[in-house]
Assembly symmetry: C2
Homo-oligomer: 370 residues x 2
């Protein structure tokens, strides 16, 4: 067993719907509430189970929408009530993570927080834990530390982090400065990145002392920082929390933490990275989901406890959330998602375009199936 890490608190922002996984993911059943790996647990629960050995069950906070409170508490029966941080509306990742940081910092000024998405897949826990342990060691030194995944293929769907100078932090032999962030590359660039060993996938994980994060935010986005502090100050008073949320939250700037904190910190030499040598997937679309659940190129991945599938020379993925018999004949790299009120048929190749369908459904007023 791995040891608990002193003063370490995990923060799980559980916000995004996952439009590219429609009609599986919905506004009222977002991606993180689904079992997408056949583990028998939701992605949120798997995320909790990965972190709990490092924090214990009383040091994991979830930031989520009010509508998901019941579902989150059902998934995480051990979560203390005070660690469910409810947003009245989505305000992007800076507001969510900074609010959690400010609340936790008031409770413990030495707290180190680690932010981990609720809807990613990681399966090799000891290697994950080793990366977090290193990242916490780096964070104790005052750096904001991200975990960058070591690439295993020239992926063009992810952003990259370029490693810089090595740090010499005790307990973090692989810690390095971040030289810069890179947007999604083209294939030949991605191949160069893979060969160089200097580039890591940006998985959006940040480990930092709460005070360091808040100071960096204060430097870059003072209004947002002030709003978050004001909100945190009222948070643990039941009577003041509601009015404070109603007053402050809707005015907070919507901005991703990559832009408000990470990139500016990188420019100042305050952003570090440790490599994560573990399997990782953000399950961004059905092509990714198919890959994650199949055993080979010509395999048909099946998701759904009560799936009744009859397959003849079919490959790809079928998600069955009804009791219907589903027959697939001669369709390759197919994506079939069968839910009670909506059916999707596409191929892995077109998986990214699912988002456009969701947009089209919005525009044409068919919100009943979103």
């Amino acid at each position: 067993m791995v040891d608990l890490i002193d003063d370490f608190y995990a923060v799980i922002p559980a916000g995004g719907v996952g439009s590219r996984l429609w009609p599986l993911s919905r506004a009222d059943a977002p991606k993180f509430l689904h079992d997408l790996t056949g583990s028998g647990h939701s992605l949120l629960r798997d995320t909790w189970d990965r972190l709990e050995p490092l924090t214990g069950s009383d040091r994991i906070a979830v930031v989520t929408g009010r509508a998901h409170r019941a579902a989150v508490e059902e998934q995480l029966p051990g979560i203390p009530d005070k660690n469910v941080i409810l947003e009245s509306e989505p305000r992007d990742s800076t507001a969510a993570i900074a609010l959690a940081a400010a609340i936790l910092h008031r409770r413990n000024p030495d707290v180190i927080i680690g932010s981990f998405a609720a809807d990613h897949v990681i399966r090799v826990l000891p290697v994950f834990h080793w990366a977090v342990q290193q990242a916490v060691a780096v964070a104790r030194e005052g750096y904001i530390c991200t975990i960058g995944i070591t690439p295993t293929e020239p992926a063009i769907g992810f952003g990259y982090i370029k490693k810089g100078e090595m740090l010499s932090v005790v307990g973090a032999p692989e810690g390095a400065l971040v030289e810069r962030f890179v947007e999604k590359p083209d294939l030949s660039t991605a191949k160069e990145y893979l060969q160089s060993r200097d580039y890591l996938w940006n998985a959006g994980m940040f480990i930092t002392r709460a005070d360091v994060l808040l100071d960096e935010l204060a430097a870059n986005k003072p209004e947002l920082h002030a709003g978050v502090l004001e909100l945190a100050e009222a948070w643990d008073d039941r009577e003041r929390r509601g009015p404070a949320v109603d007053k402050i939250w809707p005015r907070l700037e919507k901005i991703a933490i990559d832009y408000s904190v990470a990139e500016p910190a990188a420019e100042k030499g305050k952003l570090a990275v440790v490599p994560g040598h573990f399997d990782w997937d953000d399950v961004g679309d059905f092509a990714s989901l198919a890959k994650l659940n199949s055993h080979g190129r010509n395999d048909l991945a099946i998701l759904g406890e009560n799936a009744r599938i009859l397959s003849d020379a079919a490959s790809g993925i079928v998600v069955s959330h009804t009791s219907r018999v589903i027959s697939l004949i001669g369709v390759r790299n197919i994506v079939v998602v069968d839910t009670p009120d909506a059916l999707l048929v596409t191929t892995s190749e077109h998986a990214q375009r699912v988002k456009h369908v969701v947009d089209a459904l919005k525009v044409t007023g068919r919100d009943d199936v979103l």
Copy 2:
């Protein structure tokens, strides 16, 4: 308007399920009860409407299973009760057509019957009527006359009829003897057939004096003939019909009329053909259904009154028998059939294999969706 034809009686065998159109066609909702053309009527009703101008509503008989009685009467409200001939179980086309012939012959010894499948599609009525008129004229001379469809492409999915010597029958300028029947050809043979103008598609239509048909059957299948006559003799007596059916029907040989009557008659020079220069389709599978309902190669055909389809670069056919939103992205020549308890996803190319799925469902005991 076309004139009624004296002594002409249409017989519509409405038996086959249409396994290749599963899960649209089912044991309890066979192909002929569906609207497959968007006409607003079932194929059975369309067949009736094609024939009624030639026979009137009191001279069309339907031979069908007992289970379909209510559905047939709902589709054909004008059909006299005595013209609904119910089978206790399917015994193939000879038993069905010969029983109708024997019953109708007892009612009118001069009757000429024409047998037309309940589940084919023909849309240009005057040309169809002209072919039937010619065929009846040929039949009056004592021939068994079929209508062969003039090919418009080198089809390999149909059997062919080779025309022989021209007849000189008044009222049937295109009547000819049948030289022989040919099984489904390969493509190069089919191309030769198309160019030669001597070969017609076998659409399974037979027009003949009832006495001629029965005599031919007596010569080739005397037991089957005797059984049918015994049954017909009891038929119009309400008290005797039931016991006679129970006793005789299950013992009748199961054989297609092509083998029991048509081919032997052809060998004796008693089988004639008139060409049908009309559009015709037996809607044998979903590829055929897609073609029938689409307006071009890259078109997506949609069947289903309440279909809610969102299509992005999709072609093929979608049959919607639920109220679900169906989203198709980037799938070409796709076949999607969405019913409350079963879903099929395949492509036009594999449409013939649907039958194997039905077989597999039978073998694995999933009869609930057949």
